[in-house]
Subunit: 409 residues, 2 copies
Amino acid sequence: MALVNEHLMKLPDNYLFADIAKKVNSFKVTHPKADIIHLGIGDVTRPIPQACAEAMKAAVDDLTHADTFHGYGPEQGYSFLTDAILKHDYAQRGVSLAANEIFVGDGAKSDTGNIGDILRHDNSIGVTDPIYPAYIDSNVSCGRAGTPDKDNRWSNVVYIPCLAENDFTPELPKQRVDIIYLCYPNNPTGSVLSKSELKKWVNYAIDNDTLILFDAAYEAYIRQPDIPHSIYEIKGARKVAIEFRSFSKTAGFTGVRCGYTVIPQEVTAATLSGKRISLNRLWSKRQNSKFNGASYIAQRGAAAIYTPEGKEQVKEMTGYYMRNAQLMKHWLDSTGLKVSGGENAPYLWVKAPKGFSSWQFFEHLLYNAHVVSTPGIGFGPNGEGYVRLTAFGDRQECEEGMKRICQHL
Amino acid sequence: MALVNEHLMKLPDNYLFADIAKKVNSFKVTHPKADIIHLGIGDVTRPIPQACAEAMKAAVDDLTHADTFHGYGPEQGYSFLTDAILKHDYAQRGVSLAANEIFVGDGAKSDTGNIGDILRHDNSIGVTDPIYPAYIDSNVSCGRAGTPDKDNRWSNVVYIPCLAENDFTPELPKQRVDIIYLCYPNNPTGSVLSKSELKKWVNYAIDNDTLILFDAAYEAYIRQPDIPHSIYEIKGARKVAIEFRSFSKTAGFTGVRCGYTVIPQEVTAATLSGKRISLNRLWSKRQNSKFNGASYIAQRGAAAIYTPEGKEQVKEMTGYYMRNAQLMKHWLDSTGLKVSGGENAPYLWVKAPKGFSSWQFFEHLLYNAHVVSTPGIGFGPNGEGYVRLTAFGDRQECEEGMKRICQHL
């Protein structure tokens, strides 16, 4: 008989957001007239940049004529996109990469999940905690995370606490780990790493032969000029880090689906016998056998964000959300709530008052202010006692939501 | 140190088509003026249906207004698409499926590759031979295929020969296997299975507790009315089969990226202790943790193929390619070459004459007729001595190519 992958059964049926949706639906049944404001899911709401829309419509037109038709594209992405990435996302920040170090895909969730395919099932994992849960889930599903304890901590995962006491800046783990996930600007805490902080991690990776998986999906929200947008701004990172980028939050592409992964030629991991293997080459094999390239239409859309109009429109869009974040932070600060993030990231990380647990504060906000947040515990053990609010909403709704929260604390 | 997945290293660096491209480039260097006709890669060339293009442009417009904006979609696909699939692809052929049995994705290559995530690493595999190489590659990369012998046969794979002697119709394997891949209409042989032949496989699966992975990417090319388009047209298949569908060949979506996978609720596999587990539920967990839904734009485009205009345009497009196949077959038959396929599939499977090997005949066609084919050996050991020609080209080029082949045999 065919046997299942039993590791996958350890994952809960529902993703965090399905649990939230269920609670919101229960609330709706008893409060059918309530005007609910959604600041929970990290999904964008503003229209995509006009430059992207025009490029994608032109791309669709290309597909309607035999002489401009595009079928299967180059596996790693079209050069019109990878060249723009190299120039605007990297060269302009002093980082030199080659075209064959960029892999265009359908989004960072697929790539951060599938990257596990190129790594052994028994590498040890380190994550900052709280963290985007998909990192852990994808390790659970191949057995790499080990087994959970009663608090849902996995035996083969080292949790690196990000707490108010350390200003949500992780300290280097005492124990060495084979692979570390870093996400900066951070989801969910909204914190960032300065160059010197990030340098500590790169040096740790070099010293410990650790692979860093660096998720920079929110880099477009960085406002402080001295914060690194790419881990490759740090010397030595080319040898130890893979970087994930997404157009989802940069250009409102959550429904379009496009992102990319950077694997410099120097990044290696070892065989059991100690031979060093290029991870660029291994990922290329993985993608060649299990992926057929990203959509031509999406890639044309993504390339348009690097045009002068596209850049202007992206700036306007991310600026809109960051103005939301600023206003939200201002309102919440005024209530005496402890709030972090929101300055270089579209997320606000709010300490629950009165000893509320994450879910208790979530329900308090839902039933009193009719505002949907995300319980921090959904992001890991050290998220307990917090909720995450996103700045991805409509301006008026964000302000109305904050006003209501202030009234009902 | 981080360790690599060494199984992945067993895969060759280059996909078959990269090897072909290399040989074509060598030829170009010495024959810079040759007018090369490409009938090798199974990629479409005709424009996408106008109905799909209009739907996709309207979808892009939706994304440019806040009130019609679509971010992350439902994980399994939008109901406007899944409802159309249920009605037109299944109900109209007497197959009843539920919406939660359909999973919309970015294409059949991703899904047929990633499906391995839900199955144990040591299930035994059966493949008809020759076959689409990605099925085996995705099993090699997780260790499930075992080790290769000198002829590139993998130790944990049972090869089920499809030969001229059995009219390219596979016989049931003598040895039981846990998982069997079937692709009908077949890539590369172009053969199809009648209802009674397919029934044999479903019964084998029921009797042996075998899981069938049925790839129906080419179903739109079936011309004989009595050939099943879906494995669920066979009684009992709902318990033992997963079906993969693609819009790539149906509607020219190779550059758009959209397909879907059907997993009926009754399909199960076992835990080591013998408990039966729903594969629908496991795939849902897999997709929730490693995939973020297919593009809204692509899904709108796919839904348009089910409109009256869309259906007409798909019929015209697939008809064009099938007319190519008919003409090609006619020319090749006239030379005395042994040719199969091309009647319910866009592929022609051509026996190399004069004892040529696959690569020898490939080179003969390239250097004499300036026609690019695909060497059959690339599809598995039993593909030796054949080449595959595709009918996805331009009509005039197809005819010119055939004329040249006839002149140079």
